[in-house]
Amino acid sequence: MADKVIKELTIKVWRQKNAKTAGKFETYKINDISGGTSFLEMLDILNEQLINDGQEPIAFDHDCREGICGMCSLFINGRAHGPDDDITTCQLHMRKFKEGETITIEPWRAGAFPVIKDLIVDRTAFEKVLQAGGYISVNTGGVPDGNAIPISQDDAEEAMDAAACIGCGACVATCKNSSAMLFVSAKVSHLAKLPQGRVEASRRAKNMVAKMDELGFGNCTNTGACEVECPKGISIANIARLNREFLAAKIKD
């Protein structure tokens, strides 16, 4: 695991004081970064450098740093979560970058995700979509035994494939229309594939789609870009399923 050391990198990063002021790119130099350092650790090192120089560090979202919480974001060199496949930014390592390279870092860009500060955006629109129907209406207690409803292994696996979404927003940031269809369809598919979730499937599809439209996410034009950049490999087949669920629900009306 002997990783190379990158002697110098140029970091071009979006700085924005708050939602009300305009932002701009600033450029920094950083030296002697091990290839085994994660991308966010590189930003930690840069921030340490900025603090020591008396400047304000770069604000970015992150938490678990193991690719599951979905808090980290960043558009790196034009790609959501940077130049590697099936990972989040926190799992990106500096060995993916070349000596002397200029790395451009931007926040997610989408009308529904306004910038809060620097690279941090407000993704609460996602939560509002979930609140509109991303659940099965059961109260705590009084439910049947876990083995009472057999679920085929295939259905459970397909539901799990969709449920693996971490809600990071890379799909929205990548889509030229800023559509949230991949995110919404993943939740609808996860629940639609399970017998427990079928009961209110129609209501769920309609309410979540309506909320998504209301919050200013764009329409899906099937470019498939979201699927390519999704760190968890959520398939656009889910979007087809959402369309089917939505259509079936509307026909019933």
Partner: protein, 646 residues
């Protein structure tokens, strides 16, 4: 006479909980509507509690520091959740789960709490299935199980290597339903910085809005702390970067006793530290020990070559590999509990058999199970973990064994609570990892998820009623009460003090210094001299911190350095208390290993005559010595024996 009253119900163990439930008070639906409850933290414990309480009719205000409740660090739990369902017909039972947990915790947990945990464990699985958690299934459509460390049955339910994520999304979905119905008021990016007590009862919290920097007041008839553990005292841990002990620490400073602070879990299977620039450690699920074999070389010369990079693991023949867990613990083998596995790895590395450049790693090898089961089976079981490992290390674990080393993972210690999960402050509760109650000196794998959800779904919603039944006449809490003024002012002063130091060093630099001291002297092996040294060093770091920390940016706006500074200020004090507790407990038990108290074979040696108690520390004021209270642990059912996994 101790001031502590654990309120453990009388009667036979198996009847305590049902009798208690029958005896405690219940609040009518009409009155629940008039009562407000604050829940701080939205992980499995906080999320399940918030959802359940709101469904019952209470008005819930939920808080998290992340941008969404679904990002709480429960999400990172990989392996699974235990439940005594006995679906595998392997003679599992509530009693067996209870016994395994008590024994695994090295007899330092309360019998009654642990039995209750085992009792409600089955209901948790049913609840999660009903919410749509996509647990792994057999071909016939029934739920699958796997094994975890420290047990001889298969009782762990799982959703690939993402069980915590799926369980959290399940309870978050239930929360969302209640948010949509207006029964939960959700406050994201909002951190609790103080507790407000009026006439001796918890009545609210002071928070900082992390987006605007505003200090806010929130009132309620009861406050629930569900903010997880304090592993980040060590700087490097498997905790998320934002995990902190702040809420629990503020509770402590306001009169809630802190239980067993020295009990932290060191997880045996984490990716080793790679250098100076590392920010956190990544866990590789314990479930991997089902199919991976742990080894180091038998010959010292092979170890030296591995350390120098002159040979690889695949160059070492089977007969030259020391499967030390199978050698030392033939009956449990690779599935010994975490504390035992961690110490065994440290023992091998300390003896010079470590396999990476730093000599601080052992192998976890899947070669044998791939030969036995095929790569596709291993991929189906652990695919995402293998991918994660490869992304971080650039090594393909299907071809070469993983390198692993122990790391700080979980806090068994936490806010002291009684059987009702209430702290020593009336109206203040602590649930999940934030309390101390169920895991004793060591937690078994897949039991954290179980405890978080047990507390939130099936324990707190009942026990809180017993307290709130007497609060139905209390009107909505007045945020203009002088106690709110006082606490808001105190928070402002505390933050101003840090902000105005205008020193020369970053918050992280102090945090790293603290972490190094904690790992070296309050980590996997502890002794009197080292602990005393740690206490003195922590005091120096604290002094330097308040004299030389630099917090750039604006005070009353989003300021991440200010957030971190507040947390590190708490960690400095928490680290001190952990060292004091470790110094007091001159016995080895579970994850707490005192070098003065070991068996001839090098195993942890308990001292039941002198230490069969919970340490509960009382805060006495800034720079005052805390006072130790003891809650004697009474074992009515199990017999205390030296733990053996041989």
């Amino acid at each position: 006479m101790t001031v502590l009253n654990s309120k453990i119900p009388a009667g036979p163990l198996a009847e305590k909980w049902s009798k208690h439930k029958a005896a405690i008070k219940v609040v009518s639906p009409a009155n629940k509507r008039k009562l407000d409850i604050i829940v701080v933290g939205t992980g499995l414990a906080g999320g399940s509690a918030a959802a359940s309480l709101a469904e019952m009719g209470y008005n819930v205000k939920a808080f998290c520091y992340q941008d969404s409740g679904r990002r709480a660090h429960s999400i990172a739990a990989q392996g699974g959740i235990n439940a005594a369902k006995n679906y595998q017909n392997d003679n599992d039972s509530i009693y067996r789960l209870f016994y395994d947990t008590i024994k695994g915790g090295d007899y330092r947990a309360r019998e009654a709490n642990v039995y209750r945990l085992a009792e409600v464990s089955g209901d948790i699985i049913d609840q999660c299935v009903a919410q749509g958690v996509p647990f792994a299934r057999e071909y016939g459509g029934t739920l699958s199980n796997r094994s975890f460390g420290g047990v001889l049955v298969s009782r762990t339910f799982y959703a690939r290597g993402q069980t915590g994520q799926q369980l959290l999304l399940g309870c978050y979905a239930s929360m969302n339903r209640m948010i949509g119905q207006g029964k939960i008021e959700m406050h994201e990016r909002n951190e609790m910085l103080d507790l407000v007590i009026v006439d001796g009862k918890a009545r609210g919290i002071i928070t900082r809005n992390l987006v605007t920097g505003e200090i806010e007041r929130h009132g309620a008839h009861a406050v629930v702390i569900a903010t997880g553990g304090y592993g980040n005292v060590f700087f490097l841990s498997t905790n998320a970067m934002g995990c902190n002990g702040g809420a629990a620490w503020q509770a402590y400073k306001n009169g809630a006793f802190f239980g067993n602070p020295c009990f932290v879990q060191i997880h045996p299977t984490c990716i080793p530290v790679h250098g100076e620039q590392q920010s956190k450690l990544t866990l590789m699920s314990e479930s991997l020990r089902n199919d991976g074999r742990v080894w180091t070389p038998k010959k010292k010369e092979d170890a030296i070559k591995l350390q120098k990079g002159e040979m690889g693991p695949n160059d070492i023949a089977d007969e030259d590999r020391d499967f030390y867990l199978e050698r030392r613990y033939p009956s449990y083998g690779n599935l010994v509990p975490r504390d035992v596995a961690s110490r065994a790895a440290k023992e091998r590395c300390d003896a010079g058999f470590g396999v990476n450049a730093e000599g601080k790693a052992v192998y976890l090898d899947f070669k044998y199970s791939i030969e036995r089961l095929g790569q596709d089976v291993i991929e189906a079981r652990y695919g995402n973990l293998f991918q994660m490992y490869e992304k971080i290390t650039d090594v393909d674990p299907y071809k070469e064994p993983m390198q692993i080393y122990p790391a700080i993972h979980y806090s068994m210690g936490g806010t002291w609570v009684d059987y009702n999960l209430m702290t020593t402050v009336p109206g203040l509760y602590a649930i999940g990892e934030a309390n101390f109650s169920d895991h004793g000196g060591n937690r078994l794998g897949a039991s954290a998820l179980m405890q978080g959800l047990a507390d939130g779904y099936f324990v707190l919603p009942y026990t809180i009623g017993d307290y709130l039944a007497d609060e139905i006449q209390t009107p909505r809490i007045d945020l203009n009460h002088p106690e709110f003024d006082k606490k808001e002012k105190a928070v402002n002063e505390r933050l101003q003090r840090l902000y105005n130091v205008k020193g020369s060093k970053s918050v992280d630099s102090f945090h790293k210094r603290l972490g190094n001291i904690m790992w070296d002297y309050v980590g996997m092996a502890r002794n009197e001299e080292g602990l005393k040294y740690a206490i003195a060093e922590i005091a120096k770091i604290k002094e330097d911190f308040y004299n030389d920390v630099r917090i750039p940016g604006d005070f009353d706006a989003m300021n991440i350095e200010l957030e971190k500074a507040g947390r590190v200020a708490d960690f400095l004090e928490l680290g001190d208390l952990m060292a004091r507790d470790a110094l007091n407990r001159n016995e080895s038990c579970g994850g707490h290993y005192r070098e003065e108290s070991v068996t001839e074979e090098g195993e942890a040696k308990r001292d039941d005559d002198n230490f069969t108690y919970v340490s509960a520390w009382e805060y006495k004021g800034e720079n005052q010595e805390p006072v130790l209270h003891k809650e004697d642990l009474v074992f009515e059912t199990v017999e205390l024996t030296q733990r053996s996994y041989k």
